[in-house]
């Protein structure tokens, strides 16, 4: 007591302790919010990764997953969970929560927040916005363009415009390159997809004689960032794709089916 009196020790103000606790809770809340954004963006990136057509772009599912995993968001989510854990543990009674409870609170909070953000369409905004600003993060939009805008590998993504002849249309890819697209080898379903979707993916092959001529063998829906797909939608697209690559798939004119298109289909089926 003497030392307390001699040194004129006095209790620190209550606000000092309250504000410290509030700071830790706020930082935890911030971590959950950033985690929510990361989850919403991950959900969007995963949904639109094009896994329904992975055989068209990759050797197998593993190489596809390695390419499309949203590493940035996974890293951010892991970081926010750790940061949230640290801050929650440093709140006044945070030590009482077990590791499981803290993880459930942090990850569960991010899942709830992520579901809400994803539901209101913020997942695509975050993914695209961050993709445009952070050089080492390839957004799912850019990734799809990189994967599908590759005529050498027999893939194009873009939109069809005016018919040029009965068997050719003008096609503009996402880089703005204009192509003469031969459609004679397409089935009615492919032609329907070509007419129905504003943006389409084209599987085929490039003409050896001309740089801007592409022979279409299969038409698939393009990148649809504004659509939220249910699992059944995606499964539907997957089965439509598999049906489209089967050799017996109906074509407009069997005589027009080129050997090259057969090879394209066989190559996909063999994966």
């Amino acid at each position: 007591m003497m030392r307390i009196s001699d040194d004129a020790v006095s209790p620190r103000a209550r606000w000092v302790f309250v504000s410290r606790d509030v700071t830790f809770w706020t930082l935890w809340g911030g971590a959950v919010l950033i985690g929510s954004a990361a989850l919403a963006a991950s959900a969007f990136a995963t949904e639109h990764a094009g896994w329904e057509f992975y055989e068209a772009t990759h050797r197998n599912m593993i190489t596809f997953i390695v390419t499309v995993l949203p590493y940035l968001w996974i890293g951010i989510l892991a970081g926010t969970v750790l940061f949230g854990y640290f801050n929650l543990r440093h709140t006044k009674t945070g030590y009482r929560y077990s590791l499981t409870i803290v993880m459930i609170m942090s990850i569960g909070g991010s899942f709830v927040g992520g579901a809400i953000l994803y539901g209101i369409g913020a997942g695509s905004t975050i993914e695209v916005m961050v993709g445009e600003r952070i050089p080492f993060h390839t957004s799912v939009v850019r990734l799809q363009e990189e994967l599908w805008d590759d005529a050498d590998e027999g893939r194009l993504i873009g939109s069809a415009s005016a018919p040029l002849t009965e068997e050719t249309i003008l096609f503009t890819d996402t880089n703005g390159t204009k192509w003469t697209l031969y459609t004679a080898g397409l089935s009615p379903k492919d032609l329907d997809a070509l007419a129905r979707f504003e943006e389409v993916r084209v599987i085929g092959y490039q003409a050896t004689t001309s740089d801007d001529v592409f022979y279409a063998c299969i038409i698939l829906p393009g990148f649809l960032p504004h659509e939220q797909n249910s699992i059944s939608d995606m499964l539907g697209r997957r089965s439509a794709f598999l049906e489209r690559v089967r050799p017996e798939s109906e074509i407009k004119d069997p005589a027009m089916r080129s050997n090259e298109c057969e090879r394209v289909r066989v190559r996909i089926l063999q994966k």
Partner: protein, 192 residues
């Protein structure tokens, strides 16, 4: 409820916030208990014990507004005492070695404890000094919970508040501490 004018710790804290003198009553209540506790934690020299105690009470008084009834005042004081004892070891760069050998009565209570896992100690009929030494050899994390549980007679929730760890971790640490003690004591000649 206060009976016959005796105030609870929490009431004294409230009064001490406005009038410093009431803190003296809390010091009187806790001085002996905390001195024994810091000795058990390994502060050996009596001068050091006095220094650590002084720091504990100054820190407690300075942070009096941090205390609220989310935990007991006793747990709060023990927490400060635990932290100050560790600070003292850090300053002196020594490894804490508790004075448990002298706590013969508590050690025998520990030995005779009906808690699961203590039978082996009881059956071995080891003397208090042997058990005390074995406890002293435990890692700090195990020794801290053993001291609080068996020497300070704290409940699991109190230990959780003092050491700032989840109650589940208290149970786990105690269980492992007993296992390690059992292993060490089995190797003692008296157990044969």
């Amino acid at each position: 409820m206060p009976v016959g004018g005796i105030k609870t710790d929490e009431e004294l804290v409230e009064m001490a916030r406005n009038q410093r003198e009431f803190f003296g009553l809390l010091i009187e209540r806790y001085e002996a208990k905390l001195a024994r506790y810091v000795r058990r934690l390994g502060v050996r020299d009596e001068e050091d014990v006095a220094d650590v105690l002084q720091e504990i009470f100054i820190k407690a008084y300075r942070n009096l507004n941090e205390f609220d009834t989310a935990l007991s005042f006793s747990s709060w004081m023990y927490r400060i005492a635990h932290n100050e004892a560790i600070n003292s070891f850090r300053k002196k760069r020594v490894r804490p070695e508790g004075h448990l050998v002298s706590d013969s009565e508590d050690i025998l209570t520990f030995v005779a404890s009906t808690e699961k896992g203590s039978e082996i100690l009881f059956d071995a009929a080891l003397d208090a000094a042997v058990v005390g030494r074995a406890v002293s050899h435990l890692d700090n994390k195990y020794r801290d919970v053993v001291i609080l549980r068996f020497f300070e007679h704290k409940e699991y929730d109190e230990i959780s508040d003092i050491l700032k760890i989840p109650i589940g971790s208290v149970a786990t640490l105690l269980h492992r501490a007993k296992g390690r003690l059992r292993k060490e004591l089995k190797e003692h000649p008296a157990y044969e």
